[in-house]
Symmetry: C2
Subunit: 352 residues, 2 copies
């Protein structure tokens, strides 16, 4: 039995989703994976960082969070106001970083991750900010300290995309990929394809929780850009800046354009794409060839595997030298779906 | 740099495909994966087993094979008539078992695999026979000897299906899966959907090499049954016998049935499915719930992610507790595509 002492920083939807899975799957993890995860610390921005040497009671934490009561009500815990200080003082084997995404400077997530890696903790994260802006630096830091940094949930939640690219397809040289990587815009475009207006659908998506009150990050393509940056770093080893991704959102798409596409047997999707502009020589390093990165609405023919991916479902199609095209379709968001990505990353860390 | 001494037994399409990838990607493997694969032995049924302590010249072996000349023409090799004897005498770190599939008794592959595992060698294989008939026994043998057995290429060639199920989705409890797992039948059904007759298409598929002279294993569903058995063992931990899979082939499907399905907005596909008949309790072992296994033509609605998978492309849709449906689409056969699965398995072994 391998024991991992886990710290979860960020105890909103994602952090709670992971905790819920760890609680519900405790027996499964022990039996099928020989893995005993002990949650020793949790932090959120409102109540600070709590730690208990012998482990925290996950169901009690979930109840406290659901009732919006302070996590410090958990008995027998030490408390720090500041998560970084608490993490430095207490440590553990793995940090699950689950604070909110900030695409400007990636804080506070990137500081949590740097601190954890520097003190020899593995890190799993669903936070797109650090992954989009600092992936290369953070992977180097992880390597320098002999620990792992895993990011499955930053792209398409727990749908296995990053593990597919880095492990499932290991040895294949990826030449291009195209993805529907944002659920909100795909939900809107799918409804528009059925004849509805952008504004109506956006309002409905906001009411259903599929779109935020300020939908800019989604509808202008910034969220898809962040995921494109993550994939550029993970697959092509490039540190692109957001401005290096040609970006166009969906706000100007009209019902008429959707209609016209439909008449031509096509579907308009917000497509994120990465493409090497020169084919690398067999076996050669792909890190020097020019890389094109784009996020833009595209009219896809109906036989394109991405064309029929509707609603909040996401998808990615990967072209490589040995596998002409592999497509992975699955959920791109959700509490347990995102928690699942953190869980599979935890298991991967335990296995290695 | 990690060095793996590799033996390839079976030097037909698949074995040569792996060798070609190892030759072409030697620099990439060293640079990106820190992996130095040294091919020390090769065997085929015509020329027996050859071994060279300091490694074989892969390009020379590929030339000899292409010219149908004896592999023993490679200079400086030791030779055994029998692959098992050669393997026992010489060993290595990893066996790539790539002899042809035999669904009756899995020989000679299963003997090669048993021998390798028993002498502490890891095994990667594309051979469906041992995986379909003896997976549980072979995994137990691998575990007993502290080595890995990896089977990516036995289902959908190098398209990452098994790694997705076992690693990318680790921690998720799979409840059901449905797949288009046979390229020949999907090619025939896709052409029939375009209005052609079964017999015509079969003849054409045979001419193009997509179907064998005796197409029974494909068109009667036996190949899909083998893959269903492999998935039952890997995902649900069950040793099913072929007779436990309800099987129906595609030979009785008429042009009229295809037409009728089309008029109803449906597509007929040969679908392999596995489904737990009781939902396991959260965290509970899934190995006791009854498991339904079927291979049969099904009329799928057009919005089913499997419905539009045409030609020799394969696909699998996986339902689990945390990810409602994940679909993986990709090539299901081919020299380099199958070699790719063996390569990713080799890299996984080197990483652990």
């Amino acid at each position: 039995m391998k024991q991992l002492r886990l710290s979860i920083i960020g105890f909103g939807t994602v952090g709670q989703g992971l905790a819920e899975l760890l609680f519900g799957k405790e027996a499964l993890l022990k039996q099928d994976y020989g893995l005993d995860v002990k949650l020793v610390s949790v932090a959120n921005s409102r109540h600070g960082f709590i730690y208990r040497e012998n482990g925290l009671d996950i169901s009690m934490l979930l109840e406290l969070a659901a009732a919006r009561r302070p996590l410090t009500e958990h008995p027998g815990v030490s408390h720090w106001d500041n998560a970084l200080e608490g993490l430095r003082a207490t440590g553990g084997d793995v940090l699950a970083e689950a604070t909110g995404t900030n695409l400007r400077d990636a804080e506070p997530g990137v500081s949590h991750i740097r601190t954890a890696l520097s003190q020899g903790m593995h890190v799993v994260t669903a936070n797109k900010g650090p992954a989009a802006l600092y992936a290369q630096e953070l992977f180097a830091l992880a390597q320098a300290h002999g620990v792992q940094l895993r990011l499955e949930s930053t792209v398409m939640a727990g749908t296995p995309v990053i593990s597919t690219l880095r492990e499932g397809m290991a040895g294949a040289q990826v030449q291009a990929m195209r993805g529907i990587l944002n659920g909100t815009t795909n939900y809107i475009l799918s409804a528009m394809a059925a004849g509805r207006d952008y504004t109506d659908v956006l309002t409905e998506a906001q009411a259903q929780g599929y779109a935020e009150a300020d939908p800019t990050a989604d509808v202008e393509g910034y969220d898809a850009v962040a995921k494109t940056l993550i994939l550029a770093a993970l697959v092509f080893g490039r540190s692109l800046r957001p401005e290096q991704v040609a970006r166009q959102g969906i706000t100007h798409i009209t019902r008429e354009q959707m209609q016209q596409a439909r008449e031509q047997g096509k579907r308009i999707k917000l497509v994120a794409s990465l493409r090497l502009l020169q084919e690398p020589a067999a076996g050669a390093n792909t890190q020097t060839a020019p890389l094109e990165a784009r996020v833009e609405p595209m009219a896809l023919p109906e036989n394109d595997p991405l064309a029929r991916v509707d609603g909040v479902i996401n998808a990615i199609a990967i072209q490589s030298d040995t596998l002409p095209e592999v497509t992975v379709i699955g959920p791109g968001a959700g509490r347990l779906q995102t928690g699942q990505g953190l869980l599979s990353d935890l298991i991967a860390i335990a296995r290695k």
